[in-house]
Symmetry: none
Subunit: 224 residues, 4 copies
Amino acid sequence: MGNLHITIQVPPALYIKNPDTSALGRKIIKGAIELIDRLGFENFTFKKLGEYIKVPESSIYRYFKNKHLLLFYLINWYWNWLDYKVYLSTINIENPDKKLENILNLVLGDIDEDRVFSHINEKALSKIIPSESVKVFYNKQIEEEKKQGFFEGYKSLIKRISGVILEINPAYPFPQLLSTTILEGINRERYYDEHLPSLIDKTTDQPLIDFYKHLIFNSLKQTK
Amino acid sequence: MGNLHITIQVPPALYIKNPDTSALGRKIIKGAIELIDRLGFENFTFKKLGEYIKVPESSIYRYFKNKHLLLFYLINWYWNWLDYKVYLSTINIENPDKKLENILNLVLGDIDEDRVFSHINEKALSKIIPSESVKVFYNKQIEEEKKQGFFEGYKSLIKRISGVILEINPAYPFPQLLSTTILEGINRERYYDEHLPSLIDKTTDQPLIDFYKHLIFNSLKQTK
Amino acid sequence: MGNLHITIQVPPALYIKNPDTSALGRKIIKGAIELIDRLGFENFTFKKLGEYIKVPESSIYRYFKNKHLLLFYLINWYWNWLDYKVYLSTINIENPDKKLENILNLVLGDIDEDRVFSHINEKALSKIIPSESVKVFYNKQIEEEKKQGFFEGYKSLIKRISGVILEINPAYPFPQLLSTTILEGINRERYYDEHLPSLIDKTTDQPLIDFYKHLIFNSLKQTK
Amino acid sequence: MGNLHITIQVPPALYIKNPDTSALGRKIIKGAIELIDRLGFENFTFKKLGEYIKVPESSIYRYFKNKHLLLFYLINWYWNWLDYKVYLSTINIENPDKKLENILNLVLGDIDEDRVFSHINEKALSKIIPSESVKVFYNKQIEEEKKQGFFEGYKSLIKRISGVILEINPAYPFPQLLSTTILEGINRERYYDEHLPSLIDKTTDQPLIDFYKHLIFNSLKQTK
DNA sequence: CATGAATGAGGCTTCATTCAT
DNA sequence: GATGAATGAAGCCTCATTCAT
């Protein structure tokens, strides 16, 4: 993509000081992604992160109020980044079927190594998303977080995919339910593929891709 | 169902002493379900549980090594209980379409109040399942837990539903992927319905039920 | 007094576990009095107390929720103890003037070394009272603390002294205001005597005793 | 009073840079009074003050070495201001009884809203005095502070009131003890009136004023 | 078998301050 | 002179667990 001077924005209430704006902030983000991947979020602490990136724990608190908001920052960043990638993958394309196929390839395929946002390893980030994003959804403060707009990125992403679904079949009644089914389902099945493989049908070469294409194709064609 | 003298079994490695076998054990289970529902699992501790049910924390350690295994016990119990309910709802029925419909009604409908296992409030338990079960899937010890058979109940449930799917359409290539999509999807969408309702399409009276029926019907009829 | 097997009671909400009931608890009380005297309450922490009495910080938390409640415990103990001493000093005495004189001697004189409550050094405790008791009065949580009865001991003490004042002069309209003026004034002037002596008139041998006797005598005689 | 171009002086050792001399300094003083009133001194920090008045904490350090000296500055300012008001209230008056009455009305009555020193809200300041001034008296550094003259304002105030007392009755042996009894007592009883009202005798309409007048009148007339 | 008592380790956060610009 | 960035140290508290009875 080259150097486009673009930045992924997340709701400012997620951070105290924008980590984008300093070397230390970017170091925190980079280290956090790596360490959450290694330890799991439960065992991740600011103290360990400080040791890992050789920065005092207290300095991290200048950027994030607590580890939950740091996780939420990462996930929001991911949603907004994915929204942007979906946007790029469908721009200038006429055929809605082709658009959906591009989206599926994007979310089902490997994240490419070609990193645009230098301090964020998108591949590593997308590795922690399936396991950790549920932790921001299923928690007792969700109503508070909704008020602060922490889910707007997710909603935007769902609505963008829903839009393409409706282009294919304007009569389809459940575009959002189908979008979340695909997006969350892919996360889950990828994780099962690695950890509970007996739950993945091995009837084709690429069962995950084939299953979702089959699911979408049949759902959308029927009601037309 | 009356008094059948039946018990839901979970892998013995999940507990130190079977809570089924003593009044204190049943009190622990009952209190744990209620308290996890109130506090969320993150904020749930044996100390708080002890205060809640007026039992010393050390006594709880007689039954469970730690709070993660207690949660795993509850979730395994839930899977096995649901597997049993699915079994009951399909027994003696000839028509596979009717079987699947019964299963859907079971997982989509309300849990009835008629409790068979007196110390377990199944309704309360099924309330905590969507938010907390992900925490046992997405954790770093999953490989260890798999070896101890902690996911066998879940697999049995998935395979039972898959069996019915194959009865309807023996050629359908993704019965397990479809089963997990339904089971996990329902959990998720129910939660969205409560907390992120803008993500639920409101095009029919019962969007969740209609969406899943639509999805399944079209997936299974097509390949026949 | 000999071994009377009596105990000074304080509101149970002040402690988690009654320090009276274990050797460790008594060690905590003894050490706390000494350390607050040395450091001042502001600089006193459970961590330092733990080091001082060679006990883990966490063990102290089994007895007291925080250092403020520990201080409140000590002050309540002091009020109740002083109330008991005032009671003892007036029992079986007919002449109300003599009663008041005994009370004044008690609060103005030195605390005797003859300790009845072995783990509490009453002399050391009464040294920290003037400087630290204000901290429990003047704080933002006072309304909450009132509800829990944390000031009942103080009120009882004031009312006991007020009762004697009314015995001397039943028409005196301000017995409680005079009692608090004496009790709090003595604390303050003792402290001034040590730290700001230029504010103490040195016109008699025992200015503090003489001032308060003069004050009381003239207030009570006039309205008779 | 109009614009008199007068300034209340406090010992220069209390500050690094005189807050009187800059807009930022006056903002700090104004904000500090408000925030100490809201939070209590214990919970008051330069960080919170900085956020409150939208100034970096580091800027506050240009004016005050720490929060204790800032509090001491405020209290010294209050003492000197009250000393000045007492002076104004007795100037050109012949009758010493009238002088004392004016002083009593001053310290017992409400602080008027007519502010002379624009950046200091004297009413708000006098609200925090009863609860917070004890904190500067009862602390372990008092000897050091005495050497730096931090209590000279208080002494001046006490000596001014003592002077009037001696004018009324030159033979009265405890003018300073009586002055501190009145001054500190009023602070205390006002606080009790709000927070522990059961300790205030309600035998007259204005028990506080009547109690102190009764106390002073009887003390001073007797020895004449 | 159940419990009361105790504790080491560490999580989470704020404080008070300094430094470089 | 004012400020933004950074940080070492410590405060406060809970956790998960063990041990002795």
